[in-house]
Each structure stands twice: as structure tokens, then as C-alpha cells.
Symmetry: C2
């Protein structure tokens, strides 16, 4: 059976069995009760082992490992130059998901993982979520459980294995290895780990701030090929169109508006004509941002700040540590408009430059606004903003606030929405936009550098609708 069929059976059969009532809540409550986490802001001077480098002003760990906070200077399409702090983490991290069939249904080994930037301490994480510095134990903490399955994937069967980007507004060319490995052997469990079916994960995705970003990107990279609506899905033309959107785009009845070759050619053109330019600079050379003893923040207090936290934790690799985080202001917005075209649902993607993306341009959601102090102001003039912000519940198929990576970001959240549109959004879209089917997005996700992290998060959410 190929990977798509495996994942799909887990998603569909899992729902019929209604396993989600089978003890998840109890386990989750136990995990919360099992350990205490105390996270408090500290001045930079209180972050052990981290200091601002004299010559550059960059914030670095004394080992030279983990990550550093530096600056980026970039030119946007209108020719204007901008600077801001950016996280530089050249190591490729692992986002590893171990999966195994139980009673013929694929389950994912999930972790109730604490991260210092999570607003609710623990979120549902992949089996392994670690940088090389982590699993190489630079901090002399405990070993990363299960990492051996992903460092030596031949222990199982590799279903997904691809490098994907993270937030281009906050990271410099960061990439993670999104990897799914299937095993048959018995896997001894730890308390913080639990097998959940793909369907259970899809259900939990609809809860605010529960399924973390790393889980979402791995879920997005899983090919799904549903044959029928799941029992809980609302029947109707939209669900039917959505299901057809998963089919082979060349197959009868699943015809996509554009071929995948056309989509790639369009994206190549967008990338070639993009006049953005971006390079790292010393943090000290960033202008319009001020460093105090407690934060590096933009003078308008609109975007984000670099801050420090002191963590006291039981149940993680080390019991106490301090580290810098990127703290956001307000909640961001990421929205896919979805329209049935010839009976097949298409998602409206936007070719979007971001200063920290390798190659600058990836495909993002229809509307994407990073977390900021004044969302309404940031939405001003953004194409399709009115559709994205509709209050029409009949058109709103997904609407949940989800957190971004709590290992680097402090309380960073985006509202993820999937909005159905019709003739009010014509097929002949604005420049930089293109209609894609789910199957086309899934095909692109076999490679890196096509869909940005926000689009991948939203694609995982699309799977919850049918």
C-alpha cells in the first residue's frame, strides 16, 4: 500500500471508530498535572551563556550553537530598503513523526511537549522535534527520545522526507527535515507520548492552540487521497468539490484549472520578476529598533521584540534554563479562499516574497498577515482582505487560532481560516495569485521551497473539513 492510501485509511477509518473519545482528554490532563513549568521574562543579562557580541551586536550562545539573533536588510518591490532582527539557525532540525498501524489504522506517536514560548505550556508535537544541537546534547541534557528512528531511517519505512522552510519574516533561510517513518516493531512508550490516529489529529486541529506548528507542517506533507466523505462531514456540493480536489488533477472529474507544469512555470516567472533582495547584517546595524536591557523592539512597537525567558521545568531534557525568544504582538491572520471550479475545489495561493526565505518567494495563503499590534491597519490594501475577514459562518469552513513554534517564539499566534467563495472571486485573479487543487499542493510538497509554513499549516487544516 502506498503512503497516500495508508494515511487516508487512518483518516477515514479512524473517524468511523470514533477513537477520539478513547482517553485522549484524560491523558492530556495527566500530562498537565505531571509537571510544573514556570516561565518568566528576564533581562538579557540573566540569560545564561548568551551575550551580545561586541563587534556585531549579534545575540549568540557562548558555544556558537543553537541559534543567534542577527539583522537582515532587504529591498522590497517598491525599491525601499528595510532592516529588522532575524533568527539565524543554520542547522537543519528534525521534525520526525513515527507512525504505526494498530488494527489496520495508522497512528502517529505524538508528544505532549512543553516549549517556553507556548502560552499554555504543552502542545501536541511530533515524536521528535529537535535541532542538531539538541540531539547532539550541546546543553548536556537528556537524550532526545526516539531520535534514532530519524537519524537512521532504515529502521523503518520512510513515507515522507523533505526539507521545508519556516517563517520567512522571522528566520534566516531556516529549514527543517519533515520526516515520517513507519515501523512495525513494538515501541516502548514514555509518559509524554501517545499514539493518535490521523483522524484524531485532524479533530484536535480544530481546538485553539493545541496542535503545534511542527505537527501541522508534517501533517501537511502527508499525501491524502480520500475516496469518500467521512461520516462526520457535512454533505453538500462544497464537500464534494473538496474531495475531488484531492484526486489526480489529470483524472476525469478532478480536472485542475492549470496543469502542474503551468503552475510551476507561473511560479518561476513570479520568482524571476521579483526584485526583492535580502542579506544578513549585524544586529547593531539594524535601524528603527532599540535595544534595552530587556528587549530589542521596533520603535513603533508594531511588530515583535527579542526578549529573554527563564524556564524552570520538570520532565524536559534539563530542569532549568534560560534563552532568548522572539515575542510577537497581537495575532496574525492566514486565510485560504477556496472556490469550486468545474466541481473541483481550488485554493487561491499567493506567490509571496519574505526576507528570510531561501530564494525569497514561496507560495503562501491567499491572505497572510504576520502577528502585529494593529491587524486592521496591516490588512489595509491587501488583496482579498474583505473576503478573508467575512463574518459569514456559512462560508467559513475552518476558523481556529493556532500557535507558532514555542521553542523560538513567545505567544506567537495566527488565526487560520478557510473561506468558501464563489463568483464574487473571478477565476482571472490578481497578479501573483493562482488557483491550485489540494492534490497539486500535495504534489509540490514532495519538494522543499514551494509552500511556506503558513500555507502548510492551512493545508493541514483543509484536511479537517471533509
Amino acid at each position: 500500500m502506498d503512503a497516500a492510501a495508508l494515511f487516508t485509511r487512518s483518516a477515514a477509518v479512524g473517524r468511523r471508530r470514533s477513537r477520539e473519545g478513547s482517553g485522549f482528554t484524560q491523558w492530556w490532563d495527566q500530562r498537565h498535572a505531571s509537571a510544573r513549568f514556570d516561565v518568566r521574562p528576564v533581562p538579557f543579562a540573566g540569560i545564561d551563556g548568551w551575550r551580545f557580541e561586541q563587534s556585531t551586536g549579534n545575540l549568540r550562545h557562548e558555544s556558537g550553537r543553537f541559534f543567534s539573533v542577527e539583522g537582515v536588510r532587504y529591498r522590497t518591490g517598491d525599491g525601499s530598503w528595510h532592516t529588522q532582527p532575524i533568527i539565524n539557525q543554520p542547522e537543519v532540525g528534525i521534525l520526525g513523526l513515527l507512525v504505526k498501524e494498530f488494527d489496520g489504522v495508522l497512528h502517529c506517536l505524538m508528544q505532549a511537549k512543553f516549549e517556553p514560548g507556548n502560552l499554555n505550556t504543552r502542545q501536541i508535537s511530533p515524536t521528535v522535534q529537535a535541532t542538531r544541537s539538541n540531539f547532539a546534547r550541546v546543553h548536556r541534557g537528556g537524550a532526545t527520545p526516539f531520535v534514532e528512528y530519524f537519524r537512521d531511517p532504515e529502521r523503518g519505512r520512510v513515507l515522507v522526507d523533505v526539507l521545508q522552510s519556516e517563517q520567512g519574516a522571522w528566520f534566516w533561510q531556516k529549514r527543517n527535515r519533515n520526516i515520517v517513518v513507519q515501523v512495525d516493531e513494538d515501541v516502548p512508550l514514555h509518559d509524554d507520548f501517545r499514539w493518535l490516529s490521523v483522524h484524531e489529529l485532524h479533530c484536535l486541529l480544530q481546538v485553539d492552540d493545541l496542535v503545534n506548528m511542527d505537527t501541522r507542517t508534517v501533517l501537511a506533507c502527508m499525501p491524502l487521497m480520500p475516496a469518500e466523505p467521512r461520516s462526520g462531514a457535512q454533505p453538500g456540493p462544497f464537500t464534494d468539490a473538496l474531495l475531488r480536489s484531492y484526486g489526480d488533477p489529470g483524472a476525469p472529474g478532478a480536472a485542475a484549472l492549470h496543469t502542474l507544469d503551468e503552475v510551476r512555470s507561473w511560479l518561476t516567472g513570479e520568482r524571476a520578476s521579483c526584485t526583492w533582495e535580502s542579506r544578513m547584517i549585524p544586529l547593531a546595524a539594524v535601524t528603527g529598533w532599540t535595544r534595552t536591557s530587556e528587549e530589542v523592539a521596533d520603535d513603533e512597537r508594531r511588530r515583535f521584540r527579542i526578549m529573554g525567558v527563564q524556564v524552570t521545568a520538570e520532565g524536559r531534557e534539563v530542569a532549568q534554563w534560560s534563552q532568548p525568544l522572539l515575542g510577537t504582538r497581537g495575532t496574525g491572520l492566514s486565510v485560504f479562499l477556496v472556490r469550486s471550479i468545474g466541481g473541483v475545489a481550488h485554493l487561491l495561493v499567493r506567490a509571496r516574497p519574505e526576507p528570510g526565505l531561501m530564494g525569497l518567494v514561496e507560495l503562501g495563503p491567499t491572505v497572510q498577515v504576520e502577528p502585529c499590534a494593529d491587524l486592521a491597519a496591516a490588512l489595509d490594501g491587501v488583496p482579498y482582505a474583505a473576503h478573508a475577514c467575512t463574518a459569514d459562518r456559512g462560508r467559513t469552513h475552518f476558523d481556529t487560532v493556532l500557535s507558532e513554534e514555542g521553542g523560538r517564539f513567545h505567544h506567537a499566534r495566527n488565526r487560520y481560516r478557510i473561506i468558501e467563495v464563489g463568483d464574487d472571486v473571478p477565476l482571472d485573479v490578481a497578479g501573483g495569485f493562482c488557483w491550485l487543487t489540494v492534490a497539486q499542493m500535495t504534489a509540490l510538497l514532495r519538494h522543499g521551497n514551494y509552500l511556506n509554513i503558513e500555507a502548510r499549516s492551512l493545508l493541514a487544516c483543509v484536511h479537517t473539513i471533509w
Copy 2:
């Protein structure tokens, strides 16, 4: 008919018609006689409009356009840090090939293009080979002929359209748009342009320093699917195995050693475990290189130098200009070992980090040594070097010295070789190496960042064998 079939018919039918005798040599000689080019080295002070920036030492054009020479600092796998000059050209250039059927055979519109770094003035170039600064006429020269077909590809039918990298040892994250557009309309010709069939190009590839690098990368991106050996091919088991290497890797009789999913997973692992790190620095911060009034060169005079040339030309956009070039020392070497595995030819690729590659690691030839003063010393300890340097003519299926891009490099040449091996190279290869079929490489070339420029050049040469 799909693109692969179009290209293949041109390659196969073209040979049977033996068009290569149809006036190419006469046209080429006329082109050489039609204009005079004088290229002479000048000190940096003699390069109009270019200067070393005070604060960084970077060599830049006063417009801020074209390209700049800066520095790069990188850490290799053994943990050591290195610095060197590197060319930064953030604009995406166009390598555009216009193709059209004549008598049912696809022909490519080629240009007899002069570049200042070419050791023989003109080489065979794609229809358009231009940066945005060129075709936006920053230098106030003439318009770039035919560029309208690639800036507005909907005038024809797009057969290939993908961003690909260039030399990771000399360029910082440079990308070009490799694009092939088919037209049916009449195309008024200019003197420097001529229609050549794919087969003619394959024949000309076997001539030293004739088909330029930009042509080679575009040819490599063209899918070919030969059904039978061409009449001129040497029959035998190697040719048969090579032809099967073009077939669908999943089809009976064309089975590849690894599936494409396995290949991508292997490459993902190589990229994730690569501990290289690379960033741009000011040219003034590069150590071990010395700037004089005439060059910036490594103190060991082993690798390359930045120099200036003054050009006087008739027949190009402007009649006289001066510019910096990267001048190499000696000739480099790029070799694919090819082995029949189960009756299907496989090429041995190496996952190869280079400081200027976006994402650091792409697939290169089995053996790749950049042009340098002492090739023998550079080959010391390189895996498979002895096989790559064999003098056995019976195993040598391609062996030609070809030039690299003369718009940026001065007399840069590599010897490209394709060497047949057998049991002497076991299937269980050294770490970082993998056996791929031609069809698998062609499939990867629908996307950027998989095959480096040297591997693409060699892949174009593989097409000349059968």
C-alpha cells in the same frame, strides 16, 4: 505531443537527416569574420563605473546593478573556516531558448554570442542570455533580441521553465530562469542567430569550447525519451543500457536501483547532516587573498583571481565597455561514472556542498574539481578519482573541454568526461554518493536546486552518446 516526444523527435530524426552538414560551418565562419573583438586586461582603475566601496572593499558598479564582487566565509565538514571572494548577482537572469518545428523536426534558435571571457570570442548560446540589468538596458545599449518571447511566454508554448543554480564555488546563490518556448509563427532572424536541431547541438557539444554553459544547462532541462539508438550510435550493451536509462524508472525493463522517493529521501538526509555553514562578508574581510591594482588573488595562486578587462566589440549591444571578470587558473574536471545495473545505465551522483549554493548541497558529478593551478594535487584523496582519470578509451564515452560562462569568467574551462565502469565500482557506494538513471535526473530537473551546473552540463553531454 508532449515536450519529451518533441525533443526526442528532433534528436533522432535530425540525425537521420544529417543536417549538421547543412551550412553551420559556413555560417559560423561568417560570424567570426563579421566582427572584431579586442579584449585586454586593465587595472581596476581602468574599469569604467566600477569601484571598490570604501567601507566594505566590495567591487561594485556605480548603478548598484549588474553584479558585485564580495566575500564569503564558510565552514566545511571538518569544522574549519575559509574565506574567498564571491560574485553576488541577486537578479534572476534569463536563459531562454526559442524552438520551432521545421519539417516536423524541432529546431532551437541559437546565437553566435561573443562574451569577453570566452577564449575564442564567440560560442553557441541560447536565444536569450541576459540579466534583468541587461534587458532593462541599464547600460543604455541596444535591446536584447527576442527577449519578449520569455518575458511574456504566453506568446508561445512553454516546454521548460525552471530556476537553476550556477557555480556554487564562484556565485552567491545565483539563479537563472532556464526556459524553452515553442512558437509556430515566423521569427525574423538576425545575422547572429541560426536554427539548429537538437541533434546538431548534440554533435556540436563534442567540439571543445563551442557550445556554451548556458546552452548546456537548458539542453539538460529538456526531457528526452529516446525509443531507439540513433543511426550513428555504436551498438552494444552499453548503448542499450543507456537508452533504457531514459525510460520511466518504474516501467518493466527500465527499473532503477532506487525509487525517486528513495533518492529524494537520501538527499534530504545528506542535506540535513551537512554541517557546512556559509555567509557573505565584505570583500575586505577575506583573508589569504591580496588585492593589487590589477587583481584580487589567492596568495597561493592556486584558485582564481578577480581582474578587469576592456572590451572593444562590433556587433554587440554596445561597442565598448570594461568590466570585472573572475579569471581561473588551469582546467577543472567533471566526470560521471556510468554503470549498467540490471541492464539500465546509472550515473553516480555525489551530494556536494558548495559555499554559494542556496541550501548548500546539490547533486554534482561523481568527480568534480574546480579549475585550479594543480589538478593532480586537487584530485588527491577524491573518491573515484582513478576511475575518473582512466586513459582507457574503450570506457570513455565523452571527453571534451567546455567553457564556463564568458560573461563572468575569464577562460574558465572544465574537462567533461563520461566513463563507463563495471564491477570495479560496486553498487554499495561510498557515503554521499548515489546511482541515478537519466530519467530520474530529468525528473529532478523539473525543479530547481537538485542538480548543480556541472552535473547539468554533463547530463547534456550524455545525450550525445547514443
